[in-house]
Amino acid sequence: MSAYVLQQLINGLVLGSMYALVAVGFSMIYSIVRLINFAHGDVAMIGAFSTFLVFAAAGLPLWVIVPATLAVGAAVAAIIEFLVFRPQRQAPQVNGFITSLGVSILIQNVGILLLSAQPRSVRLPGLLRTNHDFFGARVTTLDILIVAATLISLLVLTLFVKRTRLGIAMRATSENVSAAQLMGIPVNRVITAAFAVGGALAGLAGLMWGGRYGQIDPLMGFVPGLKAFVAAVIGGVGSLAGAALGGYLLGMAEIMIVGMLPSEYGSYRDAFVFGLLILVLLVMPNGLLGKPAEERA
């Protein structure tokens, strides 16, 4: 394998890690309450703004900034859940989706009103931009951290869902809400926890996004949110591993189409990505790792 291909694989891995992180939080919420939460990307935006405009501006060190951002993401998501999604739990699913669109439009426009749409240059404290040589390819310290943080988050999340009482309660709730309730599981608390975990991951993604690219704006959540939706669907909605896989595939596809195809096809990138996605779905109508939808009798 040439150094060029290796370099592009690394590029895809880093971009995919960020998509995966947003997609897993997105899928986490979906698996519990069957909600396509379009405001998820905007939670990442709020995470990014609090990281850079509040915590970093206050001169806090990275080891304080990261948990603080996680907490902000978790709190914002839990508050949104309490205010608008909880009262609608019995409503048709499409309502949740539309509500989340409403929340997203609301957050973005409040953001423009308060902060202006102008992108801001931001920087993480510390020397994270150092380049390292990796078999002829180049990676920065931040790239390594991003991939590691994503993998660690996925691992922790898997253990959490499989091993802890709360995680098991979540899985029970995701199987059947009313049965879980009958079993004495505090469903409301479990759902709040799911939103909080998803929100924390989104906040972390916002931090990484801002840190890697160095620019944030109130509309920055839209594209990652959309990509997360797409990634989660390719992977199979509701499957955490599927969402991560979908995120990595999407990031890899975007990088490779630009990197490998003759340049005159580069402007067709998004058409290729979505064409590929439709093909995947036609072959596997429930996504890569999704469970088949049961026919309701």
Binding site: L15, R138, L219, M256, V258
Partner: protein
Amino acid sequence: MKRRDLLTGVAAGALALSLGIGGASAQDDEPIRIAALYNLTGGMSSIDAPALAAAELRVKQINEAGGLLGREVELISYDTRTDQGETATAAQEAVSEDVVAGIGYGDTTFVMAAAPTFQENGIPFVTSGATHPMLPTWVGDYMFMTAFGDDDQSYAIADYASEELDLDRVMVWTDESMDFTKALSKFFKERFKENGGEIAEEVSFMMGDTDFSSQISRMESLDPPVEGVFISAIPSEAGLTVRQIREAGIDIPIVSGDGFDTPLVAETPGPELANDVYFSSHTYRGDDRPEVEQFIADYEEEYDRPPENSFTPLGYDAIGLIANAIETAGSADPADIRDALEQTRDYKAVTGPISYTRENMVPPKPISIIEVQGGEFNVLEIWRPEEGLEGELQE
């Protein structure tokens, strides 16, 4: 029955509302109204909002100095929400509200959704930031440009790249989702090849992209290596590309057009990485003409921030052009303003003198070549287009 009453109620209310928004007839003691159409929300807002802010500042200054022809100037602004349907609606609303002129937009496609309505109604429309050299030809004799044409700015930077930077072999990056960026690349490639240069490779990206690692790796893999890269981008992508290219340890010159004229080019990479960037832009940044320094000082005082990008002084100049025309004509009648605008010669705008001497009505403005070194902007030279030159353009 109840629901049917509600239904008729809604319909009647809608009708009453729409009827209620009518216009009043202009009188001499009434303010002179100018419409400002910009995308203040949605994807284009980071380009358009600063232009409106500067236009509002100019109107405020005019009124503080006693207005025009003894009348106050009123700027009626419309947020068209990065939506062309809204743009068409707002244009219709503006022309129905007795405005004498309209200004707006940093992007050609939005001008094309609004300006024809002004043309049909015999009201001049001055675009502050759109740079497509065919605009006045497409719209008609009521269409005016504040900025230079994309051909001029591309030729300026292409000449500089060939002659001063001695580049023979470059790569071209283009934002394929916008007309402005596509046109800029097209004119650059045309001129750079005429100058004997070689375009080694082209890559594309889309507005809203933040990750350019694939394009960068592609650039690194070229053999023989390129000596420079031309990046056709809008302000929100300008700093992102510079930062990522420099972070990858690539130090070849980066060249571009006025989309790079934003503090983000220096701030996003930071002073240690913002080096060897060269772009063509309006004679404004780093310029020491008194009108430039005055504008920057006034803008900072009004808004507590420096002008965001080059669309900002252009918004200021668009109002200036119209005000100048009203005073020259001694009339606030749209047709008189149009005639006066057409006769504009050597108007001292912040972004350089404006004259409509060319057949295609694109002002032949001087163009600054600006470099960024250590996060600082310096003007290197002023490029002058041929007066009255008719570009060989096709629709």
